[in-house]
Symmetry: C2
Subunit: 106 residues, 2 copies
């Protein structure tokens, strides 16, 4: 099992709207994440827009690949793209780069 952590940047002026969208994530999007193997997945937001993602999965490369092939994901990611800061204009799911886990205690 892999524990995955990634960090993204939400535009500070859109934090409230970002939070609102995540209170009402489409059921189809939640089901797609589960089907693709994303488990115990949380998003945490700092008040300056720094966003931390944490999830558990058997294989993140596989889980990410499966999610990228879910049709609902493309719709969701396009609808969310304007919330993120990225010099290269990528979608959030294209920006996710796992950090190195340096300690774990069960």
């Amino acid at each position: 099992m892999q524990r995955v952590c990634f960090v993204l940047q939400v535009k500070p002026e859109r934090l409230e709207e970002y939070k609102e969208r995540h209170r009402t994530v489409w059921p189809e999007m939640r089901e797609a994440l589960s089907r693709a193997g994303w488990r115990n997945y949380s998003l945490f937001l700092r008040d300056d827009g720094m966003l931390v993602g944490y999830l558990e999965t058997d294989d993140f490369a596989g889980a990410r690949g499966r999610m990228s092939r879910e049709p609902i994901n493309a719709v969701w990611q396009e609808s969310m793209k304007g919330f993120f800061v990225d010099a290269e204009g990528r979608r959030a799911d294209e920006q996710m780069r796992p950090l190195e886990e340096v300690f774990h205690l069960a």
Copy 2:
């Protein structure tokens, strides 16, 4: 159950040493964390020194308070203090400020 995420900053010039210390965390320190109720606790490090902590606990205020009263914790925190960037010179465990969880999928 609470899922807690916090972010700290390790001095970029001390990353390798920080990682080495965390490969060999004292068994007494690990036992104290477990006794204090820190579960599924991971630390993730970005190559610029940004450090993300994630843990699960019944009550973070309580878990943090119990840990602060473990004698081994004071020794550990003092030994690690020089690794962290903090304008106020606080220990890492004094700097931990939980981020807001804005999404969760079991």
